[in-house]
């Protein structure tokens, strides 16, 4: 028997086993490669696309998510691959023992089974690479067909090669371990069921008898198969970290960021201003989701200013619950360095580079303002005329440590006391008090008014406002911000739902892994299941035992994965997360669905096995 003919014949004779391992490896490589290629377009592509459209604060949250998910996808692929290699060769342990017992030299046995491993791994990885690339092309084409614009980029051959090489190596390394381990032990031990599948130790615990024999058998087999169980728990836990970060993180980040935007823009808020001013304000807000170019615009034109009489009339309308008068302008601003004192050395270090640029300047009345910003630092105070609050994008682009720095606008300096997340002008904005802005610009009136309408009496109030506004001037307009707010929230929805779509494929790979584990469990307990059936157990008892094992593995890995995923999301990925009862229910719903789908899929081999005749099982 030559070294090449034995492995080929052995693989061909085990048609079912061989094809299952090849299919598992193929799907694992394919799904990981697909995730990376497709994620590059869907995820990282979006990340680049939104760089100039999301405010800096949101971009940071989003990029962190994408990077983390990309990393986890690769880790999941690697863990799954190593598990598959291990499972495949664990199923050969008894054969290796038998060959040793028959007198076959160790190096020859190692050669036979390594050749088998090489053939199967190469075929699996090769087919996986082809399938993954094809799936990427097909999915891109399909989604473009549905109207999503995803670029059909040329294949990144380096990435394809990297995935192939890495996964091939991982499967070889982890597959070689059981072969090496078995070739090292004495033949009697190798053929013993106590050694196969890691059964070298006596079950070290007693299960309380009330759990029943089914559960007892399931649990003891899990502990007996310690090595494989640890690996599958690790593998599934990684997958569930990925799923949790994507799903729970996605839901939390979606709701949190939407809440930031909603509070900053304001719900049930209408804008009253000159028609041209209204259009400009809408464009400034829409920069967040539509990336429209800013027009050259003179904000402080006399005709844009709101007459005091209109303000007085608005104050008399009972359906208005808040009036926020603002003066919007545009100015050239300059960063002023701040100083940091080091108490240990006593030295003072300058912070800042005296950068200059254009910014939208908004004067507000701190006591009347309708927006609630997600804020780092403090809010403006009416009594402090020399304070400024800047948008997150401006803070990132033009300041080093904004909260200890000063900004100069209209030749007057303002201490930066807060950094806010604001979609207007995509975060490129400076807020000062209305009085201060009026002083420095010489413009005595506001040019926009924002009013919050009582939602219970909305239409009547809006009609009253419109009547008052048109009585003052036909050029003034009442504009509802809900529409543009809806667009902004819809855009955030789109990008977060895209992220949540990615882990579906990892879940599929995880299900395959669990199926592999269930097959290993069945192979190991085959004889025992046959005996149970012969002694009077029904086929469903076998399914119960296997599903019990599958459930324990799934729940323990799920608990660990979800716990880590939530911690990562809340502590690292989303600052000041918004978690409501609905968020928890939504996340729980998604994760339970994922769990149930994985569990049901994993039962397939057990159900198929349970239908076999007893003698075939015991053979």
């Amino acid at each position: 028997m030559s070294e090449t003919s034995f492995p080929m014949n052995d693989l061909l004779r085990r048609k079912l086993q061989t094809s299952l391992v090849v299919v598992s490896l193929t799907l694992c490589v394919a799904s990981t490669l697909f995730l990376l290629l497709f994620g590059d377009k869907m995820g990282f592509g979006i990340s680049l696309m939104v760089e100039d459209r999301l405010t800096a604060g949101l971009s940071t949250v989003f990029s962190r998510f994408i990077m983390f998910i990309g990393f986890l996808v690769f880790v999941v692929g690697a863990v799954v691959m190593s598990f598959m290699g291990f499972v495949m060769m664990s199923q050969r342990a008894r054969d290796i023992g038998l060959m040793k017992a028959a007198g076959c030299p160790n190096d020859l046995i190692f050669g036979y089974f390594m050749t088998e491993l090489l053939i199967v791994t190469f075929v699996g990885c090769f087919l996986g690479v082809i399938l993954g690339t094809l799936a990427d092309f097909a999915s891109t084409g399909l989604l473009n067909g549905f109207g999503l614009q995803i670029s059909q980029k040329p294949i990144n051959f380096w990435l394809v090669f990297l995935v192939f090489a890495l996964f091939f190596a991982l499967a070889l390394i982890f597959g070689a371990k059981p072969i090496l381990d078995t070739t090292k032990v004495e033949p009697a031990k190798a053929i013993s069921p106590m050694y196969n599948f890691g059964l070298s130790k006596e079950p070290g615990f007693k299960v309380i008898s009330k759990f029943g024999f089914t559960f007892k058998m399931a649990l003891r087999s899990l502990f007996r198969r310690r090595s494989a169980t640890t690996r599958i728990v690790l593998c599934l836990a990684t997958v569930f970290i990925l799923v949790t970060v994507a799903v729970a993180g996605g839901v939390i980040a979606d709701q949190t960021t939407k809440s930031w935007i909603e509070k900053a823009v304001g719900r049930d808020v209408v804008l009253i201003a000159h028609q041209e001013m209204c259009d400009q304000y809408e464009l400034l807000l829409s920069k967040f989701c539509e990336a429209k170019a800013e027009l050259q615009f003179n904000y402080t034109k006399e005709e844009y200013l709101i007459p005091e009489s209109l303000l007085n009339q608005l104050r008399s309308i009972s359906g208005i619950v808040g009036i926020d008068a603002r003066l919007v302008a545009k100015a050239h601003i300059r960063e002023v360095p701040g100083y940091v004192f080091d108490p240990e050395t006593g030295a003072t270090t300058s912070v800042g580079e005296s950068r200059e640029g254009e910014s939208l300047i908004v004067g507000i009345e701190p006591g009347n303002v309708l927006s609630e910003w997600f804020l780092d630092g403090e809010f403006l105070r009416e009594s402090q005329q020399e304070e400024a609050m800047i948008g997150d994008s401006l803070a990132q682009k033009m300041f080093s440590k904004p909260l200890i720095q000063t900004v100069i606008l209209f030749n007057r300096s303002f201490d930066v006391v807060g950094v806010c997340l604001d979609p207007i002008n995509n975060g490129n904005v400076t807020y000062v008090t209305l009085k201060a802005l009026q002083n420095v610009t010489g413009v005595s009136k506001p040019n926009i008014i924002m009013v919050r309408v009582d939602p219970t009496n909305r239409e009547e109030t809006l009609n009253q406002i419109r009547a008052n506004v048109s009585a003052i001037s036909s050029e003034f307009e009442v504009f509802e911000l809900n529409e543009v707010l809806g667009k902004n929230l819809g855009f955030l929805d789109y990008i977060w739902s895209t992220i949540m779509f990615l882990p579906l494929f990892s879940l599929a790979a995880a299900s395959l892994c669990l199926i592999g584990y269930v097959m290993l469990a069945i192979t190991e307990q085959r004889q025992e299941f046959g005996v149970l059936r012969a002694v009077g157990a029904k086929p469903r008892t076998v399914v119960k035992i296997v599903s019990g094992q599958s459930l324990v593995v799934l729940l323990s890995s799920c608990a660990a994965g979800i716990a880590f995923g939530i911690i990562i999301t809340l502590l690292i990925l989303v600052p000041e997360p918004l978690v409501t009862i609905y968020t928890v229910i939504e996340i729980a719903g998604w994760l339970l669905t994922a769990l149930a789908a994985t569990f049901i899929l994993s039962l397939y081999p057990a159900i198929k096995f349970a239908k076999k005749p007893i003698l075939e099982i015991m053979a």
Binding site: M194, F213, A534, L615
Partner: protein, 229 residues
Amino acid sequence: MKTGKDVVLASGLCKTFEIGDVKVEALKDVNLGVARGEFTVISGPSGSGKTTLLNIIGGIDKPTSGKIVVFGKDLGVRDEDFLANFRCQNVGFVFQSYNLVSTLSVAENVAFPMEWARKPENHIKEWVEELLKVVGLQHRADHFPFQLSGGEQQRVAFARALANDPPLLLVDEPTGNLDSKTSIKIVEILQKLKGDGKTVIVATHDERIIQLADQKLYLEDGELVSLNE
């Protein structure tokens, strides 16, 4: 066929296995009757079809043709759920290779058929102790199968087969893998079962067991011959 043989009635039993293109006839037109309390021994060379015949009588396997009626039930036409219940309630099986469940202790191996028969917990506990006493392994109750010798495992297999006090016991080569000293204990257990009036069918070459038989049958190349006649 003899009258009064109401426990097992087999008529025209044939069993053919197909291995690729090759057909192997394991049983050829086997006719058999076993009466209540009868101790039947089936002997014959290795590969003659003894295990196949026991499997068919026990409802583990189905004949290719012919009829097998055990306790009045035609096992050839019943579904798997019925057969599982039937085996649990009516048949005790002792396999040649012991086939204990390695994840269960000795006591648990004996107890689990009773769990499936939904016997009360107290009864299970008492009966397990009783059975382990019968086979002389009460001191091994908490051990696991891999901690036992072959003879001890075989005795646990006997205890398990008797767990639900089945009216029919099928025993396949009980001393085939054991040394003569250990075999004596197995023969003693079979003697006791015969004394208790159990219906027992044993496939064996062991002369000591053949001598216990009320009915001696010989199987060769799938054909059954009665040695009594």
